[in-house]
Symmetry: C2
Subunit: 332 residues, 2 copies
DNA sequence: CCGGATATGGTGAACGTTCAAAAGCGCGCC
DNA sequence: GGCGCGCTTTTGAACGTTCACCATATCCGG
């Protein structure tokens, strides 16, 4: 209300105690008598006191802020906003905030990271879109800057802290589910080799197919991740000698393309069953709705924040990692 | 490199000047002799000095940070990540940063805004997803908290600062373009009335159709924004007496649905021309690629940051607004 | 050669918080 | 009764920066 904000000193005067006692009520309640706590709390309420974050950060030499770089067409696709939501949420629960930043060209990218740390703007970073030979993890370790990756680095993974979702487990689940519904010719539609996460998803499909004793020939299709290419690739597979009756897809974008590619029969039903990955909002809204493998983003974000906060507290500790399992959302 | 960060005092000693002079070199260069500036600059370089943001914020009583609330399935859809990228970019150029936050339930929403301001965590907010009767703008004005809306409020719009894109101009452009290519039966596919922005887009289509003397009967279709519903609605319009030969859509999601709904002829070409809105990455990748109305997000973000920074500097000033024009990206 | 304006740099304090240390106090033990 | 111990509270300082003000040097007209 544009009223001059109350400071801790104002609260102290009103409650008849010292600044430090007010501080203790907020940060170390067990050191303060219940009676005092009550008086201080009521003074806080009356003055609508809220501790100043800059002052706290200055004294504590910590920003309580996590940096996340957002670049224009990120590989996370439509997962990004849901991930950011989950991340902001988990961070807040841990007393942190998420700060967005960009870096124009790759040359300035590392300078930007450095800057944010050295100005005390952030305490650490969450790295997403980890490429197959991403230079960032090694650089961060060298600089002793706390970070956690969303997605496992593909080199020296046990030297970094990361949280990932077991994509192979998700596609394997999808295969199992399709097999239980009688499908035998189950195709995979996803990225060409080299993305890491895409390779995992394809490997999970392959593993499950082998486990069920099913043939892989003519069943694997890869293409860029867009609905048009996916539709074309699906059509190509369907034109083969033993056309698939179902598609397990690397993402919902591939899945939507597969739906388009396989077309509809006289009753308007798609000619093949499609299972997507990521459970984007679109999946539930398609007709018929799309089964999809859901990444547990809230849990992912929780673990990322947890690991990152621990690394900030003790940057020398051995980095930990977490592999979470996705869950198939059946809609049929 | 985990080296104890240099402070302004270290720089001052090395350059043989006072703290204040170093500060002046950074914040008011015209008050310092070129010779001194050089010495100070080289000391800054040698020590890799970067001013501490918390200290600066504390002294300046400003966080140089803009708050943006990210909620799970936001109405911005796949525009969100591109908007956030543009916003973070523009903010950085103005010496600000973007801070993400969430608020679980509507009850705590306003408390969260208050908290962020009173703790000095943010200096102002960017509000997106402005609903038709959104309570937030009025509340912010009452609290004298600086904010700028992305999207114009539908009530008392000249009492608030906002930046919007003229959706009606975009759909009118789309109609003009289709007419010039010989289309006469041009349908609109978008949201049911009541969203504000959706109404604008439909109104633009209607205006342009009238201007060209074209009939609107059987040409307007509205449904929830998902590919499935959009496909069904497109099919319904195509089954009418005078089926449309083209669709102008409220978003790319509607457009993808329309593409699915109108199917393909023997040559694999879609049976109707579709124009989307938002120019999401998917538009360019569809086959054939989708023409789409592109919102000038970098310009939008620039103007939002500009307006917001000005409001932060002078919260009492009369709020300004900007209406930008979108641009049709033709892909045919 | 003086008075006053201007340019440049320096000094102490302040922003609001928490840390480190010490002071006050009640209590039990020898 | 003195002493030490533990619990609660206070005190002074510090985090790193910029503001407000003052000091000194320079310059120019009269």
């Amino acid at each position: 209300m544009a009223r001059p904000t109350a400071t801790i000193a104002d609260v102290a005067v009103l409650a008849g105690v010292s600044r430090q006692t007010v501080s203790n009520v907020l940060n170390a309640p067990q050191r303060v008598t219940p009676a005092t706590t009550v008086r201080v709390q009521s003074a806080i309420q009356k003055l609508e006191y809220r501790p100043n974050r800059s002052a706290r950060n200055l004294r504590a030499r910590a920003s309580h802020t996590i940096g996340f770089r957002i670049n224009s067409p990120g590989g996370l696709g439509d997962l990004l906003d849901r991930f950011l939501h989950a991340l902001a949420n988990s961070a807040q629960a841990a007393g942190y905030h998420v700060l967005l930043f960009t870096s124009a060209d790759p040359q300035t990218e590392f300078a930007t990271y450095d800057d944010l740390v050295q100005t005390g703007t952030v305490d650490g970073f969450v790295l997403a879109d980890i490429g197959i030979a991403d230079p960032r993890p090694a650089w961060f370790v060298r600089r002793r800057i706390p970070f956690v990756c969303f997605g496992q680095p593909r080199r020296n993974r046990d030297e970094y802290a990361w949280v990932d979702v077991d994509g192979g487990h998700g596609t394997a689940q999808a295969v199992d589910s399709l097999v239980s519904r009688g499908h035998r010719r189950i195709a995979y539609l996803g990225w060409p080799p080299g993305t890491g996460y895409g390779d995992d998803r394809q490997a999970g499909w392959r593993r499950a197919m082998r486990r069920h004793g099913l043939s892989l020939t003519g069943m694997a299709g890869t293409c860029p991740q867009d609905a048009g290419s996916a539709a074309a690739t699906a059509r190509r597979l369907l034109a083969g000698k033993t056309p698939p009756t179902a598609f397990v897809c690397g993402s919902d974008t591939f899945a939507i393309g597969a739906r388009i590619g396989c077309g509809a029969d006289a009753a308007g039903q798609p000619r093949a069953t499609v299972v997507g990955f990521d459970d984007s909002p679109a999946a539930a809204f398609l007709t018929p709705p799309l089964s999809s493998v859901r990444q547990p983003l809230p849990a992912v974000a929780d673990r990322i924040v947890d690991l990152l906060v621990r690394r900030i507290a003790d940057p020398g500790a051995r980095p930990e990692s977490v592999l979470l399992r996705p869950e198939l959302v059946r809609r049929d």
